[in-house]
C-alpha cells in the first residue's frame, strides 16, 4: 500500500494474508471462502503449477501474529475460466476462490465482506479502501495498511494507459481507481485484497474490486477486477450460500 496508513484491529476483518507464490491478499466470504486474484495462484510468466502450497492466514493485522494463528488449509482453489496465465498483458478474469477445509469462527478480527449487487458502487469518484500486507515505498510491510482511493473515470484511465504506451487489456470486467496527484495506491503483495466500499444505506462494506494490476505503484491509477460482473460465478461456485 502506497501512501496509506496502518490499519487498526477490526478495521478490515475480512483481510486474508496469503503466501503462495510470495505474499498476497484476499478477502473472506461467508465463513469458509477466500476471494482473491487468480494471478496470486497462477502468476503470469510462471509455468502453470498446481502443487504449490496455498497458505492462507486470517484474523490479525500483524504478519508475525497472523502467522502464529496458523494457516487455514485450503480444500480447493477455483480459478475463473477466463483467466489467462500465459497472457502477461491480459488480467481478464483475474479472480479466484479458495475453499477452506474448515469453516472459520468469526469474531471482531475475522469477518466476511459482502458482495456488490449494483453498479452504483462503481460511480466515478466513489471512495473505497484498499488494504493489504503489500510493499510500501519499496519496503515490505509488517502490518496491514490501507489507503483510501476514488473510483476513476474509465476514459481517464484509458488515456493514462496510452501515455504509458501500455498494451495491457483494460476490459469492462475491470475498473480503475486512484488520483495521479496523490501517491495513493496498492502495490505488489496487495494483489487479491479487495477494494472495499461502504454502503451507507445498509451500513455494510462491499468488496467491489480485487487488487489486480497496475503500472508501477503510486504513479497514477490501479486496476481492479470488477467483482459485480462475477457475482453469479462466485455464488455458483460457493453453492449459492447465503
Amino acid at each position: 500500500i502506497i501512501g496509506g496508513q496502518k490499519a487498526k484491529p477490526g478495521n478490515f476483518p475480512w483481510q486474508a494474508f496469503t503466501n503462495i507464490h510470495g505474499r498476497g491478499g484476499g478477502a473472506l466470504l461467508g465463513d469458509r471462502w477466500v476471494l482473491t486474484a487468480a494471478h496470486t495462484i497462477y502468476p503470469k510468466e510462471h509455468n502453470r503449477q498446481n502443487d504449490t502450497s496455498k497458505d492462507v492466514f486470517l484474523g490479525h493485522i500483524n504478519v508475525e501474529e497472523i502467522k502464529k494463528l496458523g494457516h487455514h488449509p485450503v480444500r480447493r482453489a477455483i480459478i475463473h475460466p477466463d483467466y489467462r496465465q500465459d497472457e502477461p498483458n491480459n488480467f481478464e478474469g483475474d479472480i479466484a476462490l479458495l475453499e477452506l477445509e474448515n469453516p472459520v469462527t468469526l469474531g471482531p478480527n475475522l469477518l466476511p465482506i459482502c458482495l456488490p449487487d449494483n453498479e452504483t458502487f462503481y460511480d466515478e469518484g466513489l471512495m473505497g479502501y484498499v488494504s493489504g500486507f503489500g510493499i510500501t515505498e519499496d519496503k515490505i510491510a509488517f502490518n496491514l495498511r490501507f489507503v483510501r482511493l476514488p473510483v476513476a473515470e474509465r476514459e481517464t484511465c484509458q488515456r493514462w494507459l496510452q501515455t504509458k504506451k501500455s498494451n495491457d487489456v483494460f476490459s469492462q470486467n475491470m475498473f480503475c481507481s486512484g488520483d495521479p496527484s496523490q501517491r495513493h495506491d496498492a502495490c505488489q503483495g496487495d494483489s487479491g485484497g479487495v477494494f472495499a466500499v461502504r454502503d451507507r444505506d445498509r451500513d455494510t462494506w462491499i468488496a467491489t474490486g480485487i487488487v489486480s494490476w497496475g503500472i508501477g505503484c503510486g504513479e497514477g491509477y490501479g486496476f481492479y477486477t470488477k467483482v459485480l460482473n462475477y457475482v453469479d460465478w462466485i455464488k455458483k461456485e460457493m453453492g449459492e450460500e447465503d
Binding site: 478495521n11 471482531p108 469477518l111
Partner: protein, 446 residues
Amino acid sequence: SPYMPQKLYGEISSPLYPKPYPNDIETTTVITVPPGYRVKLVFRQFDVEPSEGCFYDFVKISADKKTLGRFCGQLESPLGNPPGRKEFMSQGNKMLLTFHTDFSNEENGTLMFYRGFQAYYQAVDRDECAPQVNSVEGGYQPQCQHLCHNYIGGYFCSCRPGYELQKDGRSCQAECSSGLYTEPSGYVSSLEYPQPYPPDLRCNYSIRVERGLTVHLKFLDPFEIDDHQQVHCPYDQLQIYANGKNLGEFCGNRRPPDLDTSSNAVDLVFFTDESGDSRGWKLHYTTEVIKCPQPKALDEFTIIQEPQPQYQFRDYFIVTCKQGYQLMEGNQALLSFTAVCQDDGTWHRAMPRCKIKDCGQPRGLTNGDFRYITTRGVNTYEARIQYSCHEPYYKMKTRAGSSESVRGLYTCTAQGIWKNEEEGEKMPRCLPVCGKPVNPVTQKQR
C-alpha cells in the same frame, strides 16, 4: 334237510313250484340268518291241499323250539288253514319250515293238483335290548346290568358312570378311580345316589376345566356319609383337593359349604369301608371365568384405555400415557403396553409407569447458542429453549417475514424431539454477517 346259507334274505318254495308238488314227501328247511338277527317270513303264494286240521298235506313253521303254525288250503279260500299275509318272526336267528304231503290228493275220486307254496324271508335286526321275558322264571331278564345298546345285527352293554363293564360284557362293577369331568358345569355324585353307595369304594373324580376358569362346588341334599360322633370321618370320607391343595375332608349329614376352589383342577376322593347304608352325596359344579384385579395406574400420567368394571381371563387392558409422557417398564421404554389376564388370575405384566418425555440435551448451535426459557437444564416435554447466533458476527437465517425469535424457539415435543414451529427438527443456521466490521475505519482529521 337243506341248510340255507346265512343270508340276509331269500326265497323258499315247494318242490317243482310252480308245478304241482309231488306226493308223499316231507322236507324241513332250516332258515338261518346271522347272529343278532331274527327271521321274518311271509308267504307270497300258497296252494296246498286243504283238510280238517291240515291233516293230509301241510306246511309247518317253527322257531325257538315252538311251532308258529300248521297251514294248508289256498291264500284266499276259507278251506283248511291258509297262512294269509301273516309275517312269521323268530326270536332267534333260525326258523324251520316243514312241508309234508300224503300219498294222494283226491277229492270225491277226482285227482287234484296243488302247486304248493312260495315264501320270502329276510333277516330283521333283533333288538336285544328290548325286554326279554325270562324263559325260566318268566320274569324280565335284562341283557345288560346297566345300559344296553342295540345296533343292527347285535348289541352291547355299558355301565353308568363310575362303573366298569366286566369281562362278561354285561355286568358292571363299581370302578370310579378315574372319573373325569371336563364340561364347564355338571354334576358329580356318589355311585347309586341317592340310593346308598356301594361298600369298599376307592373313587376319584377329577374335574378338569379349561385354564382360566375357576370351579365352584355346591353340594345338594341329601348329603349322607357315614361318620362318627367323636372321631372325624373314621369310616367313609370325601376329600376335596384343588390344584393339589386339600380343601377339606367331609362326612356326616351336613352339606359342606359352597366352595370356590379358585382353580380349574379339582379332585374329589371318596373312600368307603365295607359297610353302611348312607345315601351318599351329589354336587353341582359350575365354573366362572377367573378374574384379575382391577388395574390401577401408578401415576397421574398413565391412561388405562376403555377401562372395564371387571377383568377376567383372557381380557386385556391397554395403557397409554398422556401426551408428552413415555411408557416405561423398568428402564425399558415401550412403544405400547398391553397386559393380559392370565389363567391364574394375575396380569401377565406389571403396570408400567409414564415418564415425561425427555428431549435430551439440546444440540449445540454452530456459531450460536441457546438459553432456557423454561427451567434451566430441564429438557422434558414442553420445555422451551431459544437459540440465537453469535451476533454481530453471525445472523440466524429466517424465512421472509419471520423473525429470529420465532425461528430460534424450540419446544420439547410429545415425540421427545426439540422442534421449531416453522422448521420442525431442522436446526437453525447462523450465517456469517458480511461487511460489518466492529471497528470500521474512521478518520477524524479533515
